[in-house]
Amino acid sequence: MLLPAAALAADGLDTGDTAWVIVATALVMMMTPAGLALFYGGMSRYKNLLNTLAMTFVAYCLGSIIWVIWGYTLAFGPDVGGMIGNLNNLFLNGIGVNDLTGTIPTYVFIVFQMTFAGITVALVLGSVVDRMKFSSWLVFTILWLTLVYCPVAHWVWGGGWMADMGALDFAGGNVVHINAGISGLVLALVLGKRLGYGKEAMFPSSITLTALGAALLWFGWFGFNAGSALAANGIAASAFLVTNTSAAVGALTWMVVEWKVNDRPTVLGIASGIVAGLVAITPAAGFVNMPAALVIGIVAGLIGFFSVSRLKMKFGYDDSLDAFGVHGICGIWGAVATGIFANPAITEGVSGLLYGNPRQVVVQLISIAATIAFAGVGTLVVIWITKLVTGGIRVDGDEEIQGLDSAIHGERAFEIGI
């Protein structure tokens, strides 16, 4: 995000910027209940497909409400000690229809940021499908957004300490992907592995849905990255360009590596490579040029592939849909890459290692470490409270075997013979 300066009377509303960011907001909104829901749903086992969709949908719905009541003010309200925003804008109090953030209405900025909050918490569920109590997920979502998402968003984009330190995160490497990836891993470790993990076959319900989800995510990601310019300008255009480049080359890289290692280019691999490339370019989108995006995407495809197929096996954790493997790991790479490739020719005043500013890499590493630490500890606290409130966060063994679509929702994903 290019932090909008306080609205100056001289700036005024720019209709081009406003129109673009409104559209970008709608694109990002779609990424959660359509893109992510299908992407994750298709990878879930058939008996839990609807549960995955349900968790994704409610994450976005809860995010929508929490944000406009207390989330926005905590993340973007007047700064308190570089740590959090105050409650001046509780219920969006004090913000009017004509107020501006930069050259766009503040209301647009609020909704745009809201879609980021929604998708970030939804990403976390990718680590824990098939075994979490639905009531616990609802409580977890509310607490996690409040206690983990809002502070980190404030630190990076709301005028907090990471911004002051000069950490670069154009559209959410720290705030979204590293945050969600680490939190997902912690939640997965506390919940424990699925029954039969490592022994039973756990087939994805539909690679078709996953592929469709990946395509919707790619489409929406243009709003995510190019929209984060908060303007209809050259930086937005550059972010748009590098986003597509990284996604495409990430997909091809994953496909080629998988073909060499496993003898087969899978559609799941292509879809995963797309997302890996998109995740990695997210923090760098408005700061790097196209050749850098090629490198970022290729490396994302490589490390994404090895982290989901080797790292997980090696350490034995059940990060079911690889929220940590793809979003966490590729997000970390993207944040580091931003420190390497940030180019003053793209965004003035911003430069990384390759442009004479090696300190940027250090700053990035500090911000990454702080996000990891905070997300980890914060998630543990959230889990602890959630356990108290909902009496344990994991479903019964019987329900897990029966399948959550039936046990929790009383529904079937498709009316077919299964």
Partner: protein, 112 residues
Amino acid sequence: MKKIEAIIKPFKLDDVRQALSDIGVQGMTITEVKGYGRQKGHKEIYRGAEYLVDFMPKIKLEIVVPTERVDDVIAAVRNAANTGKIGDGKIFVIPLEGVIRVRTGEKGNDAI
């Protein structure tokens, strides 16, 4: 009377149906089943999780025939379903106690 159960490769169903029709066997019931014998399965890998899929899709045909026709039917099925490769299937002959037509109540060979 005998019941003939044949496990065949799915793509052979039309050939078998035609061959049986040619010798005057008009009715059958089929089920989609999975199974394996000597045919090896295949490997599927989803994001690093490797699964050996042993069970191959097959079609199970069930036909009821008068005892004197059993050999003709077996020959027709075998010829139509045979590809020469492992996994072609098996034919089982099972003694049958009785057959009744639902519509008319006819029994025995009249009901076939």
